[in-house]
Amino acid sequence: MNTAEFAALHATAIAARVSAGEASPADLVKATFDRAAEVGAGSDALNLILWSDRDLADRDAKALEEGLTRAGTGGRLAGVPVAVKDNIATLGLPTTCASKILAGYVSPYEATVVTRLREAGAIVIAKTNMDEFAMGSSNENSAYGPARNPVDVRRVTGGSSGGSAGVVAAGIAPIALGSETGGSVRQPASFCGVVGVKPTYGRVSRYGLVAFASSLDQVGALARNVEDAALAMEIIAGEDSKDSTSKPIPVGSYRDQFLSLASSPAPLDGITIGVPAEYFPEDMDPGIRSQCDRSIEALRSLGARVVDVSLPHSSLAIPVYYIVAPAEASSNLARFDGVRYGSRAAVSGGLREMFGQTRSEGFGREVTRRILLGTYVLSAGYYDAYYRKAQAVRALITRDFHTVFGNGIHALFTPTTPTTAFAIGAVTDPYEMYLGDVFTASANLAGVPAMSIPIGRIAGLPVGGQIIASHFCESMMFRVAYALESALGSEAHQ
């Protein structure tokens, strides 16, 4: 199979071919690595991939092959190459979170989501670049250099799951895992022109996901199309006894639901979609506005009723997020002290100096900034005014969604990002960078599921449209997304 052919294959098609014996896992591994070399996925070019091991991948392919011969049939992801963001624990390949403080660290245990993918037959072929400790919206905060957008290499991939989004966009792997805290899967998906899904908080196990902000973090999936993303979700979702925040709510078959409606002329008949005014400000980018308008028209043509709604506290999302997330992060990153794993500074003094130097040398500027901010908002005298207050306002943001979804709205449609991918180095002010999360962060704060699909291009740069549903209503979210994706067809990539 040549790389062009491979790059166009859906994960479902790959798994079907492998199970039927029409494609071998070894050939797929070769195709993946060939494609990666072809586009320049390494540090010399796009810098999407941090760590990969061809021998390891070949061994996994061989083991899969042997297993297939015995079982006669493969898992739902049999032979599918998948890339994993470098903050998700894998055996064999390092997990560095794109930070110097974890340089060379190979986890002695595997994340639940990775185990589930592998049990479904997937082959982990790479760990992808990201913003250090998932703190960033451009993948420029990596200790290993920025990732470059395959659509336009002078531009950012978005972040923090930039490497994963880029790997999928470049056709290196049909599925990649990323992580979400404030938009880190949806935003790069939007910038790179791929599908990115954030599940309901508690839908997917966080065991093995290096914690940034515990009450917000979720593992998300990136894929070239809605069906593959839904498949990935079906496989990784579900309660895990190792994650006390994962919920015992059964995982549906998301694909069956929307595929069964695929031939219907009005697959969104009976569905009401809300368009929140706060996400369509007056000074919105006109190009993005027109792409969104086209999508809204498409939704109507699919049978949906589209109405105006309001999420009144939307403008508070960024201030709330940038108090809550750094606060939790400051605590989650305290374990990086050079004692049990990771890098350790060589010092002449005692323990206190070792801690200070290890952490200062190991963490980058953005991580340092957020740890300081987070420590400050939790510190004596400031906890009530900042952290506690932010959590209370967060409850108001959540209530906005409950109100809207409780009033007959099945899903919301919004732009994913206020801009298309910007140039590497163009945004230097921290808060300006934070504002890139303005449309995504609310969903993390409220815990509702949200996803981005490509809805068009402006001057060749991808534009993402966001679909948000109520808690644990991934089925509805995928249904709307799939229908829209089908309706837009190739227009979504023009």
């Binding site: 245990y109 002290d337 049990r340 323990l351």
Partner: protein
């Protein structure tokens, strides 16, 4: 003013390791004495991506302790992160409870010199232990062992109700006994499953307002607690006498030098930045479950002691000893009931049984002589079938052979002989061997009866039934 014009005010914070098999938030073993870091896993090593999952037995034991203290159990309690850096604190925070702890209120009754007093309890909350730092094992380095990291603890905070170092140790003794009884903890200060920090202040007698308190840490035994409190109180009184102020500070007790030294930590350096633990939801306990824990609580030592006094009529010192360990108390009670002789049972248990158990090294629950076996021996003696001294021999043989008392007494020929023919024969021999005393006795000197009985006992190597011998002598004397 002198020291006696000042009143000592003490509050104690006690940390107790819960007796679970696995740690608070992971399945690693809590076994003491394992090779360093052999009882660790991704969670208690705080590897990136690991998450805590709460141990249900830790909750059950914590609730049990709180119920026994009469505390109010809060159906909803919240775990919180206490953030600080230390090399044996792997996550850089301890999972503890801050606002909304498991339980508040309660009390513990103590007695000092016979005077009973209630010491109030402020709160009981759950938290995890840190690992161990060994500063002197390798020169220039500190060695970290995380086997203990994550072991479940409860912290019991008392009200500042103690007024002397003896009250403080009485409180600790009662608390230790109760928690041991309830199998909540091994509560050993030597092993570190019971740790004490004290808050001490002084005020003029009669004054209601509390003085400035200092914190005293690093006491490793009950006597250490007593000495440390007396030392610190004396230090504070001396300062106050001179009109100086007490600074709120932390002191570390040095049991070798018998002094408490100020720890030079900066003011305000303990900003723990508590916030609710986002990796764990609230702990929600339903009322039925709390009730079932309440009803499953075995009898408390104080209740048992009262019952022993009322039902068995044994002396307070004996009660204290027998009730000191649940296994011992159970053994005693079983023997007392089976034999119907609580006083004799008390003597045997505190005497022969304890001695044998101690020298054998096995716990009393595995002691070869079971309470019902002991009861058999006791009834043999009570019914006059063997003498008390023969009983001791039988006991020893029971221990050696595992055979029951009646069989041993028979086989060893220790059964008292009540057969008149045999007794008459011995009496004849004694009369023949001691003609003077015999003549005097049969001549009317009844007070010599005991002497003659003694001779018969000796001749029969203790086997003669003294009661019957008395009767035979009397009838022989009566017969003229």
């Amino acid at each position: 003013m002198t020291q006696s014009d000042w009143e000592m005010v003490v509050g104690l914070e006690v940390h107790v390791q819960l007796k679970t098999r696995s740690k608070a938030f992971c399945g690693c073993s809590t076994d003491f004495g394992a090779a360093p870091n052999s009882n660790t896993c991704p969670i208690c090593l705080a590897l990136p991506g690991s998450l805590p999952v709460l141990n249900e037995k830790a909750v059950a034991l914590a609730v049990r302790a709180a119920v026994a203290l009469g505390s109010t159990i809060h159906p909803v309690s919240i775990f919180a992160r206490k953030n600080y850096f230390y090399p044996d604190l792997p996550k850089g925070y301890q999972i503890s409870q801050f606002d909304q702890p498991l339980a508040t209120g309660g009390s513990l009754e103590i007695a000092v010199d016979g005077d009973a007093k209630k010491i109030g309890v402020t709160r009981v909350h759950m938290e995890e232990d840190a690992g161990k730092s060994l500063h002197d094992r390798f020169p220039g380095s500190t060695a970290i062992d995380l086997n203990r990291a994550g072991v479940p603890l409860i912290e019991i905070v008392s009200e500042p109700d103690m007024r002397s170092s003896r009250e403080a140790t009485a409180y600790l003794r009662e608390l230790k006994q109760m928690l041991q009884y309830l199998s909540v903890s091994d509560v050993s200060m030597e092993e570190g499953s019971l740790r004490v920090d004290a808050n001490v202040s002084a005020r003029p007698r009669g004054e209601k307002k509390l003085g400035t308190k200092t914190e005293v840490k690093n006491m490793n035994s009950f006597s250490g607690v007593e000495r440390a409190l007396d030392f610190e109180f004396a230090r504070q009184c001396a300062l106050l006498e001179r009109g100086e102020k007490i600074h709120q500070q932390t002191l570390l007790w040095d049991s070798v030098r018998n002094e408490a030294r100020v720890s030079r930590t900066k003011e305000g350096s303990h900003d723990y930045r508590f916030f609710p633990e986002p990796d764990l939801g609230p702990l929600v306990l339903d009322r039925d479950w709390i009730s079932s824990v309440k009803s499953a609580i075995p009898e408390l030592p104080s209740d048992m002691k009262r019952r022993f006094a009322a039902d068995y009529g044994i002396a307070p010192e004996e009660i204290n000893q027998l009730a000191s360990h649940p296994e011992l108390a159970a053994y005693y009670e079983s023997a007392a009931r089976a034999s119907g002789e609580p006083k004799a049972a008390a003597n045997w248990v505190m005497g022969e049984v304890q001695a044998a158990v101690n020298s054998s090294g096995v716990p009393i629950t595995q002691f070869r002589i079971r309470p019902t076996d002991l009861a058999q021996l006791i009834t043999l003696i009570r019914d006059g079938l063997i003498s008390h001294s023969a009983g001791k021999k039988v006991f020893a043989l029971m221990l050696e052979t595992g055979k029951p008392a009646p069989q041993i007494a028979q086989d060893a020929g220790l059964l008292k002989v009540g057969d008149d023919t045999a007794l008459a024969a011995w009496i004849d021999e004694v009369v023949a061997e001691h003609p003077v005393e015999a003549a005097r006795y049969f001549g009317g000197e009844r007070k010599l009866q005991g002497v003659l009985v003694g001779f018969v006992m000796k001749k029969s190597a203790g086997k003669a039934d003294p009661g019957r011998v008395n009767q035979l002598l009397i009838s022989r004397a009566g017969a003229g």
